[in-house]
C-alpha cells in the first residue's frame, strides 16, 4: 500500500471511530425519535425479509445437496442434518444474512443519507430545529442493531427448512427425525454466540452506512460512492467481526 493511501485509510478509520463515539453520546440524550425508529425498523426488517428468506432457503438446500456426496463416501449420510444445522446456525446463516444486509440495507442507508446530504436536506433538518445525527443516524443504527439479529433468527429457521427439503431430494428423512437430530446436536453454546455476534454485525452495517452517507461529497457522483463504500466497508467489517467472534468463542471453550 502506498504511504498516501495508508495515511488516508488511517484518517478514515479515525473519522469512523469519532462518528461511532458520537453515536454513544447522542443515543443517551433526549429527545428520542421513536416514530422514526419504528419506521426504520419497518424498512430494515420487513422490507428485507423476502430477500433474506429466499437466500436462506436456497442456502440450506444447496449446502445440504453439496455435502451429501462427501458424507455418503464416508458412510455418514445419517449425520447430514446434524452437520448442516451446526454449520448453518453457527456460521453460514449469520454471515450470509449480514452480507445481504450490508448489500441491501447498508447501500440503501448510504445512498439515502448521501442524497439528503448533497441536496441540503440534512442542513434543512438542522434549520428546522432537528438534530440530524439523532434523527437520521441513531434511529437507523438502532434499527439495524435490532433487525439484523431478528433476520438472522428467521434465516436460521428457513435455511434449516431448506436443508430438510435437501435431505429429502435423494433420500428419505422424516420431518420428526430431521428436527430431532437438529435439536439433539444444537446447544445454547452454538446459538447464543452466533446470535450475539449478529448484534455487532447490525451495528457495523448501520454505522458504516450512516457514516458514508452523512459524509457524502462531490454531488450525485458522491452518492454512488457513498453507497459503494458502505457495502464494501461493512462487508469487510462483517468478516473481521466474525473472525474476532470465532476467536473469542474458541478461547471461551464454546466450540
Amino acid at each position: 500500500m502506498e504511504p498516501g493511501k495508508f495515511k488516508e485509510a488511517l484518517i478514515e478509520t479515525g473519522n469512523i471511530s469519532r462518528f461511532t463515539m458520537r453515536f454513544f453520546r447522542e443515543m443517551a440524550r433526549p429527545r428520542f425519535e421513536f416514530a422514526e425508529f419504528l419506521k426504520q425498523c419497518f424498512y430494515v426488517g420487513y422490507k428485507s425479509l423476502g430477500l433474506v428468506a429466499i437466500t436462506a432457503f436456497i442456502l440450506g438446500l444447496v449446502i445440504t445437496i453439496q455435502s451429501r456426496p462427501t458424507l455418503t463416501e464416508f458412510g455418514a449420510e445419517a449425520w447430514l442434518p446434524k452437520m448442516i444445522s451446526v454449520s448453518l446456525i453457527r456460521e453460514i446463516a449469520p454471515v450470509i444474512t449480514a452480507l445481504i444486509c450490508a448489500g441491501k440495507i447498508g447501500s440503501g442507508i448510504g445512498a439515502e443519507l448521501g442524497s439528503m446530504k448533497v441536496t441540503e436536506q440534512i442542513d434543512a433538518m438542522e434549520v428546522s430545529g432537528t438534530n440530524p445525527y439523532k434523527y437520521l443516524v441513531v434511529t437507523r443504527v438502532f434499527a439495524t442493531l435490532l433487525m439484523v439479529p431478528i433476520l438472522v433468527v428467521m434465516a436460521d429457521a428457513i435455511s434449516l427448512y431448506g436443508s430438510y427439503l435437501g435431505c429429502n431430494i435423494r433420500g428419505v428423512v422424516s420431518w420428526q427425525l430431521f428436527w430431532e437430530q437438529v435439536f439433539e446436536t444444537l446447544s445454547f453454546s452454538d446459538l447464543i454466540p452466533a446470535l450475539i455476534k449478529t448484534f455487532f454485525f447490525g451495528f457495523a452495517i448501520g454505522i458504516i452506512g450512516c457514516y458514508e452517507g452523512f459524509n457524502s461529497k462531490k454531488g450525485t457522483e458522491g452518492v454512488g460512492l457513498s453507497a459503494n463504500s458502505a457495502v464494501v466497508i461493512s462487508s469487510l467489517l462483517v468478516f473481521i467481526l466474525d473472525m474476532i467472534a470465532v476467536q473469542i468463542t474458541d478461547l471461551a471453550g464454546l466450540t
Binding site: T119, E120, Q121, E126, S128, G129
Partner: protein
Amino acid sequence: MNQEVIDTADTENKTDSMVIQISNLNISFGENHVLRNFSFELPEGQCYAVLGKSGSGKSVLIKCIIGLLKPDSGDIRVFNKSITNIKNEELDKIRLDTGFLFQSNALYDSMTVRENLEFPLRRHGLKVTKSEVDKLVKEVLEHVRLPDTENMMPAELSGGMKKRIALARTLILKPKIILYDEPTTGLDPITGKEISKLIVELQKKYNTSSIIISHDLNCIKLVADKIVMLIDGTCYAIGTLEELKKSDDVKIKPFFE
C-alpha cells in the same frame, strides 16, 4: 473603494434596530480564506442582496448566520444575541424566527408536501393543535398559490412549484428574518420573475427582514432595497442598485455591465 464611499444609507435608517449584525467575520476552508473581516448590518424590515462572484463566499455567509457553519473568528448577532458560541437549544430558538430558503429547495423526498410543511412545526416543539396545523398549512399554500398540492410528493412538482413549496415551508413558522440562497437559480426567466414577485409580496405580507443571495439582477432589482458587494471576502460596498451601477470602481463595474 471602501464601504463608506458608496454606503449612502439615510441617517434615519441608522436609528433602525438592526436584526443582524456581523463584525469581523473570518472563515477559511483549508488554505482558502473565504471571508476576511466581513462586517455588515441588516436593519429591521429591509431586504439586502449579497452580490459576488461564484465561490466568493455568499452562501457561506448566510450559512454562518443560520449557524450551519461556524466562523473561525468574528461575531454574528441575530436579534442582538451572539450566535457564535451558544448552545444548540438556544440556536434553535433563534432559528424559529429565522427562515432559510435553500438553493436546492431541500424538500424531503420521502415526505408529501403537507409533511414537508408540518416538519418545522413539529420539530420546533410548538404546541399547535391539529386544526391549527391544518389552518397554517392551508394558509401558507394559498399564499404561495399552490392550494391543491398537499398530498403530492416533491418528485411530482416542477422546479418553480418546488421553490414555492420550499418558500411555504420557510414561511410556515412566520419568521422575522428570511435568508434566501439563490432563489431564482435553475428557473426559467418567467418563473424566476414570478418567484421574485412572490418574494416581494410575501415580504410585505409577513413583514420580514431578509438577505438574498443572487446573481440574477432582475430578481435583485425587484426584491432588494440595497446591495452588498462581497468582493475578496470583504463587504466591499453597500448601496442601491442605481448607486452601484453608476460606480466606476473596476471591481464593481463588471457586475452591472
